[in-house]
Symmetry: C2
Subunit: 783 residues, 2 copies
Amino acid sequence: MKKQQYSQIGKSVPRRDGVDKVTGRGLFTSDIYLPGMLFTKILRSPHAHARIVSIDTTEALAMPGVRAIATHENTSKILYNSSAAMFTSVPGMERILDQRIFDPIVRYVGDEVAAVAADTPEQAEAAMQLIKVEYEILPHVLDPFEALKKTAPEMHPGKYATPEKYNVPGEITRMYWGVTPGNDEAQKEIDAALAKCDIVLEDTFTVPIVKQVQLETMCAVAKIEGDGGVTVWSTTQTPHPTRFILAHIFDLPASKMRVLAPPHLGGGFGVRIGLSAKAEPIAVALAQLSGRPVRVEFTREEDFTATDTRHGGTVSVRLGAMKDGTFKALDLNILLATGAYCTFGVELPAVAGAMALAIYDMPYKRYIGHSAYTNQTTAGAMRGFGNPQSNFALEQMVDRMAAKLKMDPLVLRKKNIMKADAPWFLPYPCSSSELEACIDKGAKSIGWDKRNTFDNSGTIKRGIGMAVGTHVSNAWPFCVDFDNAYLTVQVDGSLHLAAGVPDMGTGTSTSLPQVAAEAFGADVNDIYFSYGDTATTPFTIGSHASRALYAMGTAVKQAAEDARNQIIEYTAALLNKKPKALNIVNKAIEIDGQKTPVSTDDAVKGKAGAIPLADLCYYAHIRNKQFIGLGRIVPPNSPPWHACFVDLSVDTETGMVTINKIAASHDVGFAINPMIVEGQIEGGVVQGIGYALTEEITYNASGRQNHRNMHSYMVPTINDIPPIDSIIVTSKDPQGPYGAKGAGECSLVCPASAIANAVTNAIGKQMPALPMTPERILKALRN
Amino acid sequence: MKKQQYSQIGKSVPRRDGVDKVTGRGLFTSDIYLPGMLFTKILRSPHAHARIVSIDTTEALAMPGVRAIATHENTSKILYNSSAAMFTSVPGMERILDQRIFDPIVRYVGDEVAAVAADTPEQAEAAMQLIKVEYEILPHVLDPFEALKKTAPEMHPGKYATPEKYNVPGEITRMYWGVTPGNDEAQKEIDAALAKCDIVLEDTFTVPIVKQVQLETMCAVAKIEGDGGVTVWSTTQTPHPTRFILAHIFDLPASKMRVLAPPHLGGGFGVRIGLSAKAEPIAVALAQLSGRPVRVEFTREEDFTATDTRHGGTVSVRLGAMKDGTFKALDLNILLATGAYCTFGVELPAVAGAMALAIYDMPYKRYIGHSAYTNQTTAGAMRGFGNPQSNFALEQMVDRMAAKLKMDPLVLRKKNIMKADAPWFLPYPCSSSELEACIDKGAKSIGWDKRNTFDNSGTIKRGIGMAVGTHVSNAWPFCVDFDNAYLTVQVDGSLHLAAGVPDMGTGTSTSLPQVAAEAFGADVNDIYFSYGDTATTPFTIGSHASRALYAMGTAVKQAAEDARNQIIEYTAALLNKKPKALNIVNKAIEIDGQKTPVSTDDAVKGKAGAIPLADLCYYAHIRNKQFIGLGRIVPPNSPPWHACFVDLSVDTETGMVTINKIAASHDVGFAINPMIVEGQIEGGVVQGIGYALTEEITYNASGRQNHRNMHSYMVPTINDIPPIDSIIVTSKDPQGPYGAKGAGECSLVCPASAIANAVTNAIGKQMPALPMTPERILKALRN
């Protein structure tokens, strides 16, 4: 019923970026050409851990077209963190500063050693080959358990160590619910709680290193302005924090650094929350050295080897329940390999634990999680941010518990899931949940009642599985997270909205104007949206954490309401009416509910009717008045909920899994643009299939990635994608704009878990590791 | 004394655009290249007045590389006004809409007939030659007096006529002071007032059509965005009004039109208040037709023939005085040729009259002024906006009156000039005047006491002359005129200022940040300034009317004070102090006047000292708070004052004038950046020399310009420039930012008048016409 009140939201308005993208005329950072612009090649370490004894660039510098070569010797030595976490650590949290543009120590195969800027890419490549580097090889470590040992090589000597462990960046995350905080007390109490359970299950799961594989590789174009300011076109998801990081590295006032998207951005999935790896700082450094605009663009191989991956590692679960299926205690332990530098190696284990502990309501919970430095490519944020890792472990344990209890896993879940407004350990309210409805609708779509009824007597075994999960709608209070927005009203009543979140493909360049239009009483087609540019917008933390529509949407709604109220008050004063007598509907200001068009001049003379907004705004304009709305948020957070159902077949002769259908039902609060939400769900499901079945980066013993291109790293293609039923469930969330909650990440949280449970349902074997390759399936079948 | 309180203003901070401009790396509109961009050539009318019977583009369209041809047949037929006046007419004023992108009637030699977009300029040129146009020639008129006759051809048939006159755009400006408003009454009373004077002088002066000759010709690059929005890089002085005009022409919401400078702009001098002639609409039309980005760049000849000129015409003066030198009555009558279309043909005669009537205090004044359509290039705004025309007439009449009275013209002027706070006829207060000090300082610099002491017995005659004048600091209330500005505080306490006035060379990209820095308590080097872009800024009327520093400066000061107050209130609440106990000085928040640095954390604990702004802003940032200031103005207006003194020599054999020195003293209120003010003064003096001695566009009988390039149109070169003493006089004006008044135009108001008076002083002959070429000097000597 509520939905029908709205004219601009709850509608599948076509994406604004659609035409630009399908015609190829939209500008991406890699399309930016500036007069005199230089191209670059980056020399990377062939060693997993080494000290640079010397670099000789003499011969390379003498090559034709070469304008500058940057190394650790001629660039900023300021330590930084390449992730937005550098400027979003909450009060009291330590900021980890462990990177330099170029460091005299290289810590993984691919670490940056030098960069050449030349008139052409070919000249840069040729010169790069002539740089002579002498290395002193240092011992390296690739396994996070080994890295923690006091015998391991220290990645950042003298820093990030505890009395017991080496290579631990930041605090170890510990969460407690129903047990006394503190190492020994909590251990004793969670052990005691589990001991009182009728059934306790325990296992450890392995999750791989995978990649975002966003379409556009890292890219930045830097230009030094005449006043010493710097403009950087960038593929970042977070222009404002990136501005701050770059200003820090180059010791400039933050205001002198402009960061913008051009405006299109070929995906992100978390890989560039903060810098686009080293694209921006290398571009700026070379622009400063050469005095010319410089473009740095990563190859796909560089994207694999030198930009943040998803964290791989291990998740250990102990789950205790009573015979009636009531969950009593959950103990979760996570160790992730964070690679050579720490971007989100502290926040991510926290979210991984918090989200796993947030699904089920039970009296005792404990979580210990952290990451370890290893001599690998840095692991950072990727869609789901630790949650798919822990969900994969927990949701299989729930299925095993159901088997042990001889209960339907769907029934067991419904019995234990968190209810809205129930007390939970997260420091914000569980403001809404329609997870039960998600489960029911997903079950109906997949045909849950057919589960265990298939004829599996042949070599092809069919199974159905499910998993549930939750996520965040914002990163607060895990990190600083706030937004501001401007909304100006033009002379003809059309609106100019300015909000600094880029649209990395999530559709916010369409959905945020919808929110503004609804809140203001305008038509979405009359709204210009300026985004992703620090020069056009006030501060926003950027696009990540499923937050862009939810959090920025709140600021946008406020800005629109502010401008709307100003117009109503201005008009009321003109007409000597109470503001309550006026309302903006369909681009007109209705006076006392009247709808006949009337000019402002006539209305001032007392004529009844509705003043077209264009007429009122022109009237105000020639009297020196523009209406300017400002929106700021105090960040809330609301939980979206998700149930994923999978119907699949396993070929027990080849180990190949064929997915027959996936039903993904999501409580997104309220879908501002259902088509975009469906796109988010489908995209997450597809990435989830890759995570479940094919994607993995492994390393050889010397620390080199075995999978570093799209021939060996297998992302799902259109042929691998089953029918997907994207089910949107509405709930009444009191916090987000019009009840919207985050929809960006949840869809990637559960697919791998549900696929694993479906595989187990089909073949009766447990799946302790991702990806579930034919080799692993066959191995499981042999056991 | 007051000056020394300030740390950021009253100082010659180096221009921010300086390095970009001298190194050539700054981007101008003509530097913008976009992928797939097309180049254009415009076909122009060879006739002064004709109807287009037919246009055949078939052959041209078939030429290689040609992507689109725009004519009146396939482009918007919406009438518009190319000047900002279209959206700045004050309430009750008629908006004149007499132009189309392409019109089936052409009204001057050079009027646009068609435009070709092709892959290269050469292809566009070749295709343009093949467009076949059949014209029906119409009668034309070049003289404004002839144009007014009911026998003249009507330029815009059925419009812009009075019962007595044809071709009068808009209202005839009539101003009265001490006489009863109304045609007959006023005539009788001003005649009577003059009749009572001891001496009445009467004469008519001729002023030429001249050009701004800004360095960068008109240019625009248009790009259609995927959502149907349009981005236009433009040489306009007024991005926001230009956005509105283009939205009107193309029937788009104003919000969908983005207009920006790149950011540099090669001058303006009034030639692009509104559209850059037809550069923007033709670029947008061709971009829509071709689906490709399009650049339109005028040649210098097109700049002469098809962009607004200064108005030429006649100024008639009757001045009456008593024997003691007291001025009693002034009657002024102006008729200007406004060319084929009316841009500022209504507002400009008003300013011309108002400024002439504003200089001297006397009981009876009347003014009648208007312009007439002629089949010439449109005359519009140029630095001084009518004021140099009327000043040239009035100030010579004052010198003649002094001669008649046998008084020193300097003494006569000082006796009659307007005093601050005296009642005057302008609808805003005469808020300050140090004209007397300007006169005294200028006289001292030029050596006024040497006047009439030179040995002029040879063929070289030396003379000294002077003139005085005033101008505006804003266009209000002659037209709508207001500004808004944003100021955001970054995480490190540095400031991002956003204000939509472009910097057309007047230095506001430096002086406005100075104002913000002073008002906030910051260092000007920590301020980024985003300007000249409708996407980054709220509405501003733009850069013209000597207003950018004065009016936008007021908004910028307010925005800075707003942000500053927010910080003080936030900090006071944190520390449980009264806001009055805090002050931002030198990038720190002093608590109770303490200056020892103290962290926010320590200050919260009660430690005394000064919190570095960077620390407080980071503290607030990680608690989800950005400080955002907003400035809006209710526009005031303050009079700047100017006295110009000239020492020159006339070669009576050749008629050549050699200027020995010019002393130009200006009451600019307070010079925010004295170096920039001096630059303004010098530039105005140089243009004034050209106006006085060499510059003129004449037409042949068929309506073609005789002077349309820089070989035949003579602007002063470095060899023509004498020593210039730029004298800045401070006054206490209560209105502008820190007392600043307009400084952009005044310097061009008096030089020609002072040069004429000096010539008369040298050779004893009256100079009724500009420019005072050798031919005119010799003719005067012969009389």
